[in-house]
């Protein structure tokens, strides 16, 4: 089970900046372990970020995104105390959702 995301969301001058760190191996499927066995691909494929009920970003990822992915983006609106929620799903069907209040 993947650990929690670290989400920070801060609002200034009508724009909210969201920064997300995800705990995920992002295995490409092209590496081998020490005994020479291929390590199966395991990576986040899709991420959705919502401000309240509104989707503010959808990201589709491939295995070229780094381990423990980082994502930063900005959207208009959002006020201190509002909720930003981030969800991801990976190629094995595992998923995780975390949320944070905008500061």
């Amino acid at each position: 089970m993947a650990g929690p995301m670290r989400i920070r969301a801060a609002s200034a001058d009508g724009v909210t900046e969201v920064r997300v760190l995800m705990s995920h191996p992002m295995e490409t499927g092209q590496r081998r372990d020490s005994s020479g066995e291929p390590i199966p691909a395991h990576y986040i494929t899709e991420l959705t970020a919502k401000h309240g009920d509104k989707t503010v970003l959808t990201a589709y990822m491939g295995p070229s995104v780094s381990t423990n992915p980082y994502l930063a983006f900005k959207f208009q609106g959002g006020a201190a105390g509002d909720t930003v929620q981030v969800s991801w799903v990976d190629n094995k069907g595992e998923s995780r959702t975390d949320e944070v209040q905008i500061r």
Partner: protein
């Protein structure tokens, strides 16, 4: 440092909201990903990737910027961002020409989300990085070479 542990832990685990949304038919990640995985994420050349995006041959534009270092200390984590001053940007894609998995990520930007995204990508070697931006239905791009060096003494 103020770690918002409890905020993030509160919503963690289980099937999650994402799963619920999928179950409710509000979003269809499976279908969308399958289409993208086949057509875009398996592209092994720029042309293939452009084709999969229905991008034709994007116009190189000064209104698209790649934010990234000239040289990276390690290819496992290379910060890459894309910004654009174009109006109505609805999609951004990041491609690494010399990677086996050339397309790193695409972003769908609803109205109100700024054309300013950052992530970090793996690079197997020094390569041109491409940013493709879809704005008002048209495709534009920028490219930047990022050098990758080899680090430690055990290699």
């Amino acid at each position: 440092m103020n770690i918002q542990r409890r905020d993030t832990l509160k919503a963690g685990g289980g099937i999650g909201v994402f799963g619920l949304l999928v179950a409710a038919g509000m979003i269809k990640p499976g279908a969308a990903i399958a289409a993208r995985d086949q057509a875009m994420f398996s592209a092994s050349s720029l042309d293939e990737a452009f084709q999969a995006m229905n991008a034709g041959t994007p116009t190189e534009s000064g209104d698209v910027q790649i934010v990234g270092p000239d040289i990276a200390e390690n290819g496992a984590v290379v910060p890459v961002g894309v910004t654009s001053s174009l109006a109505n940007v609805e999609q951004i894609a990041i491609m690494i020409e010399k990677n086996p998995n050339m397309l790193a990520a695409t972003f769908a930007l609803p109205a109100g989300t700024l054309a300013d995204v950052q992530t970090r990508v793996k690079m197997g070697q020094t390569s041109d990085v491409f940013a493709v931006v879809k704005a008002d239905g048209k495709f534009f791009m920028a490219k930047k070479e990022i050098k990758v060096t080899l680090g430690g003494c055990g290699g």
